[in-house]
């Protein structure tokens, strides 16, 4: 139906012999909200590292909007329109939420612009709008180190959106959050999915149920299966490698 925003073919990444990603094939439609799950060590974070240019694969192709992105560096890929949110919130603690957002939002990201550029009117409006969206308007001008964990998570999602990417990669956005905060982040992601393609890596099954439309299960560096949450949950292979052990762990 839609054009593919992300296509990955025969991807292999090995760290001194150990294959973190093994001949992985994956594709995502534009506008899709995809959840990637998998047990520890399945290669989820390495998968994101490859897409954002942090890790270079030994084999395979990664195409974003039909363009091969492997030769590019992290910042170039970020400027092409792939934004990444990290597992632990990584905001600039000494800067205020407003400054964090302005920094991500700036259109010109070179030395000269940082010296002489001023945030344009539209950038300032975007930042103010985002502060409202993520609920930090009344804490906009205090250092981000004073924010709570949940607020930092929301701020980082805001920074991601400020970059106006086409594809958002979100790594475990609800780790360490309370139930209400989890739901708030879920609703935020669902709202963002209206206008962005989003890939979420998550462990929290409740949360996955809240937001998932299509789920990809990774296991030992390859795609184990793909489908709706119900299909995936009833797949015997998935139960064996992931959900089964999850149930045992819960007891």
């Amino acid at each position: 139906m839609n054009e593919k925003i992300l296509e990955i073919e025969n991807l292999t990444v090995s760290f001194s012999g150990f294959k973190a990603i093994n001949n992985l094939n994956f594709s995502m439609d534009a506008g899709e909200l995809r959840v990637v799950i998998g047990p520890n060590g399945a290669g989820k974070t390495t998968f994101m590292d490859v897409i954002t240019g942090k890790t270079k694969p030994q084999e395979g192709n990664v195409r974003f909007k039909g363009r091969n992105i492997l030769p590019y560096k992290e910042h170039e890929i970020a400027c092409m329109g792939i934004g990444r949110k990290f597992q632990t919130p990584r905001v600039y603690l000494k800067l205020t939420p407003r400054e964090n957002l302005e920094l991500s939002c700036a259109a010109q990201k070179n030395v000269f612009a940082a010296l002489f550029g001023k945030p344009s009117g539209s950038e300032r409006r975007t930042v103010n709008g985002l502060l409202e969206t993520i609920g930090l308007a009344n804490k906009a001008d205090i250092p981000a180190e004073l924010l709570s964990h949940g607020e930092k998570q929301r701020l980082e999602i805001g920074m991601l959106v400020a970059q106006s990417p086409d594809l958002l990669l979100v790594d475990e956005p609800v780790a360490g959050l309370t139930d209400e905060e989890t739901e708030a982040v879920g609703n935020l992601l669902l709202a963002l999915a209206e206008s962005h393609s989003i890939m979420v890596i998550e462990h929290d099954m409740e949360f996955v149920r809240q937001i998932a439309r299509k789920v990809t299960v990774l296991h030992q560096g390859t795609v184990l299966c793909e489908g709706s949450m119900d299909e995936v949950q009833n797949d015997p292979r998935v139960i064996e490698v992931y959900l089964g052990s999850q149930d045992e762990a819960d007891h």
């Binding site: 560096k73 600039y92 103010n128 409202e132 009344n138 906009a140 001008d141 924010l147 964990h149 949940g150």
Partner: protein, 396 residues
């Protein structure tokens, strides 16, 4: 709660006015201090029979310019350079070479005859020109730093590896300057105090006064430059690079350019400092300007004064150097112990340096001592248990 939301989104008019007032205030304070240094302090010291201190003050003010550069790259950008002596020496030698060449036509500096050199080495030729020398003092360190920085930062060499690399580069430069008698008088260095400049001997009090005034003015200019660099978007980028460089890449910025830029600026400041220090000391030698100890001392000045404060860099430089002078006059053998103790004390008791401490805890401590304690943080935060928890647990 809801009422406070609305106006907080757009920075209030009051904030802008307060910022402007703070700016005017700062300009006024800097101007007053500069005028004190220029007009009041030198005659005062002379009247007290401490005329020699004026020259020392001038030299330490020159060193403070280099300390500003260290604060820029270390305090704000998190790059601990242990090789800033290179840039200091390049600036000092550039001016030293110009002064050595103030001779009747056809003569070359005396020391060359010691080593049987009868013709001036080619790289000395441009230093006949005063404008070229003025340019070389800051441009050569800038270019060297930019080249070195580009290679290092592009390859993502960071942290302690960067520090070791700068120290190694310093030793390379030391060996070169120390060993090449036939080119730059090797270990003896270049004397400047017997040369003539503007038709007078460089050690003449009138000339020295000019250098003193120049040191004050260039320190003020350097401070203004660093304040400008660290206040706007550039300053926020530097802090972001310091605190989480990989994250900066994912925000779409290439940190390499920013780091090369700020490293080059700090080298330019060190070069200017080196030139001013050299003419006020009367000599520059590899074993003073290019010793590892000297480059590390620069870092100590900033650590004592307070990183990422700029004022702290200047204050720390003056404090440590005057302490060094006064103590080593009285008890020559204990200065090094004192310096070590000072550094340890700062690292363990005042990790943010003296100015850093004054700006944070010290201010509240002073207030509580004076009995003027009052709540002065964001009120909704003060009552927010989550924030309280974060504060208590964010010390790691």
């Amino acid at each position: 709660m809801v009422e406070t939301l609305e106006p907080a989104v757009e920075p209030r008019k009051g904030v802008k006015a307060r910022k402007r007032r703070a700016f005017v205030m700062e300009v006024a304070i800097v101007a007053v201090i500069a005028l004190l240094l220029l007009i009041v302090i030198p005659p005062l010291l002379s009247a007290l029979g401490q005329g020699v201190r004026v020259n020392q003050l001038g030299r330490y003010l020159a060193l403070a310019i280099a300390a500003l550069g260290i604060d820029l790259i270390w305090g704000y950008t998190g790059l601990l350079s242990l090789g800033h002596g290179i840039f200091f020496a390049l600036g000092g030698y550039a001016l030293g070479m110009y002064l050595q060449l103030q001779l009747p036509a056809g003569q070359i500096p005396d020391f060359f005859s010691l080593y049987g050199v009868s013709e001036l080495p080619a790289f000395w030729q441009p230093f006949y020109s005063f404008p070229f020398t003025l340019l070389a003092i800051w441009l050569i360190p800038t270019l060297v730093a930019a080249a070195l920085g580009y290679l290092v930062f592009r390859n993502r060499i960071r942290g302690v590896y960067f520090s070791i690399l700068t120290q190694a580069a310093l030793i390379v430069f030391f060996n070169f300057f120390n060993g090449q008698q036939k080119l730059i008088n090797g270990t003896n260095g270049l004397k400047t105090d017997t040369s003539t400049i503007f038709g007078m001997q460089a050690s003449d009090p009138r000339i020295q006064t000019i250098f003193y005034v120049l040191s004050v003015l260039l320190l003020v200019a350097g401070y203004a430059l660093c304040r400008w660099l660290t206040s706007g978007r550039m300053g926020r980028m530097l802090v972001a690079i310091r605190d989480d460089e990989p994250r900066v890449r994912f925000s779409g910025y290439n940190p390499t350019g920013f780091k090369v830029f700020v490293f080059a600026i700090s080298a330019a400041l060190a070069g200017i400092a080196g030139a001013l220090y050299t003419v006020q000391s009367g000599i520059i030698t590899p074993s003073s300007a290019l010793s590892t100890a000297f480059s590390i001392e620069m870092v100590i000045w900033v650590a004592v004064g307070g990183r990422a404060t700029l004022v702290g860099a200047i204050f720390g430089t003056l404090l440590v150097n005057f302490a060094k002078t006064l103590l080593s006059e009285q008890f020559p053998e204990i200065w090094l112990f004192f310096q070590g103790a000072l550094f340890l004390a700062v690292v363990t008791i005042l990790p943010n340096g003296i100015i850093g401490w004054l700006r944070t805890d010290g201010w509240f401590w002073l207030k509580s001592v004076l009995g003027r304690d009052r709540l002065s943080t964001y009120p909704s935060l003060e009552t927010d248990p989550e924030v309280e928890y974060e504060r208590e647990n964010s010390g790691d």
